[in-house]
Symmetry: C2
């Protein structure tokens, strides 16, 4: 097992300012690698500290850290494969029954290599489950009008059930205008404010649940982890992960606290949580001492850190110090192989849901 570096002390480990969080999250989701210098290595022999094992909110001032990982690994890669298999079967059943093949349109503006890779992966994933993909590549200097014309055409195209504009857009384009142009029935990303409003409101149903938060909740469901009545802490309040994840947990009757860059002593919140979802893009920020024994950890962060031993010169770590957390949590997602593979699986799921809804297929 590779030793994970978790050296920054919990006293100094602070959340990123929100603008940085956004950058980090966007980079993780769709952007370039963001290399960080490696932290000092955490000693592998841990001392055993005072334990407060009460279920009450008394802060677990320090956690008992044994030398062996005991948490169940929440295997996102395997769950994502299972979901893709289910979608494959359903897409085939739809085609046989009504002759419709779901279609996802992806629009890429400019020639960022990382964006091109993400688009290629989405295309490959569509193919793997039998969903048609339609790709448009526009030059970097395209106008908003040109892009809006393509969106409008896809809005009207009955063979397209989901539309995704690859972010980030070139700086001369207004992202909000562009995303608002995607009709809500095909907004498989689920980022439209009307959709977020429905997600927030009791008695309303969102058209689509945003992919990454949906993936987090799906992992909890598939591992039989109950949410109702649990204390949940979401770290990060981004529009694309933290905020919708909190809304989803609340819809499932968790008591939710959102911790963010302005929260003093975030570890005092996380220590009381039965479920932690972290989405800030800060490598190894959540230490073992931040976690209540038996908590469930969903780590959305995918942070590259320098690693001269790796052939690529870097390796990926989460927001949570996996080595420490896996010894105190009851279940945890690894990075990579946890939430990451779920995002595209949920995109396929949303595209299929859209096709079913548009064609009234059950």
């Amino acid at each position: 097992m590779v030793c994970i570096d978790c050296s920054s002390s919990s006293a100094t480990a602070r959340l990123l300012p929100m603008s940085h969080q956004h950058v980090a999250l966007r980079r993780f989701l769709r952007g370039p690698l963001n290399l960080r210098p490696p932290c000092c290595s955490f000693p592998r022999t841990f001392k055993t500290l005072t334990v407060h094992s009460s279920a009450s909110p008394s802060p677990v001032l320090a956690a008992s850290i044994t030398s062996e990982a005991s948490a169940k690994v929440i295997d996102g890669k395997s769950v994502a494969k299972q979901i893709r298999d289910e979608i494959t079967t359903e897409v085939s059943r739809m085609k046989d029954a009504i002759g419709v093949i779901p279609g996802l349109a992806v629009i890429l503006v400019g020639d960022r290599k990382d964006s091109a890779t993400y688009v290629r992966n989405k295309k490959k994933s569509c193919e793997s489950v039998g969903i048609n993909s339609y790709e448009v590549r526009l030059p970097e200097d395209s106008t908003e009008q040109e892009l809006l014309k393509f969106i409008s055409d896809f809005n009207d195209d009955p063979s397209v059930h989901g539309i995704l504009v690859q972010l980030p857009l070139p700086s001369h384009m207004n992202e909000q205008n562009i995303l608002n142009a995607v009709c809500i029935e095909k907004d498989v990303d689920g980022f439209h404010p009307l959709n977020i409003g429905r997600l927030a409101m009791r008695g309303r149903e969102p058209t689509f649940v945003p992919c990454t938060p949906k993936g987090c909740i799906e992992l909890l469901h598939r591992y039989g982890i109950s949410i109702k009545g649990k204390r949940a802490v979401v770290i990060g309040r981004s529009n694309i992960v933290g905020m919708p994840a909190a809304l989803l947990l609340q819809r499932e009757d968790a008591t939710v606290s959102i911790v963010h860059s302005r929260t003093k002593n975030p570890e005092e919140f996380t220590r009381q949580a039965d479920i932690i979802i972290s989405a800030v893009g800060q490598p190894n920020m959540v230490r073992g001492s931040w976690i209540k024994p038996g908590a469930v950890i969903i780590d959305v962060g995918i942070n590259p850190v320098e690693d001269p031993k790796s052939p690529r010169g870097y390796r990926l770590v989460g927001d949570v110090c996996y080595e420490e957390a896996s010894k105190i949590a009851s279940a945890i997602t690894p990075v990579p192989g946890g939430v990451g593979p779920m995002t595209i699986a949920m995109l396929l799921s949303n595209t299929f849901i859209s096709a079913k809804r548009i064609h009234n297929f059950r």
Copy 2:
């Protein structure tokens, strides 16, 4: 001072199931009186209990309750008057400058006495600040189509800047369809999901902030109570108060937890809060022992309880046991006279904001 009854023990005081909360909140906001039997009287001589005055989240297991109220009273009646005065001045300035008078249309279906009273109060408040009010009263057996026609006319009427459909509607009408028909530019209640989505999202601005939560935050602002970095607990997650109040607190950089009917031991959350907003419609539910010394309490509940000594046979109390809370909090809204008067003041404010926006008046 009238002795407030707060006898139910904190161990047994539970949040209402959400359906009840909705009913209670709606009744408070727009509905009939909901009389409850009086609780037993709380002894007026309190014993002094252990105090944990640390600002850390260590639970204050029991609060120090002295025999004197020490909290500053947050006088909503006075602030609402101040706001109405400001609006009066601004409405007059607008009329003089561009000849436009803001207009609020209120539609009432059926002949519920309480609804008629609320509509009358809104009309009177409009008159008091110089806003035109337009009232439509439809018979109980009107069709959705008839109501929608009036909404559509008001949507198109340039003299109307705000539209309010008095709730509850008769049971044969679909409330969601009706409320969705109000164009978002005139939805001064701010309940449209598109508006709620914008409220939830960073980098977006809601067209209108829902009146009661806006009133809560306005009280904090006007009393110079800082929100940024504070721990806030919202009790209740209704679409009209709890949820938007939580979103507003988060927009101002508080760390927010939402406590609701499925929360186990809600007092463990409230005891850690610097700011508590309660909106559940449970008389005297929040006891002194639920409150951290020095916390600020915004009590949205207006609950009628039986009182044979009162000429009306009942009196109004909040969700918070005022007598206990006022001895431990640093500031608290009374009931009545706290948040209540702010709701209509904020409705007037939203109507004026709408007129300013539509006529591009600064």
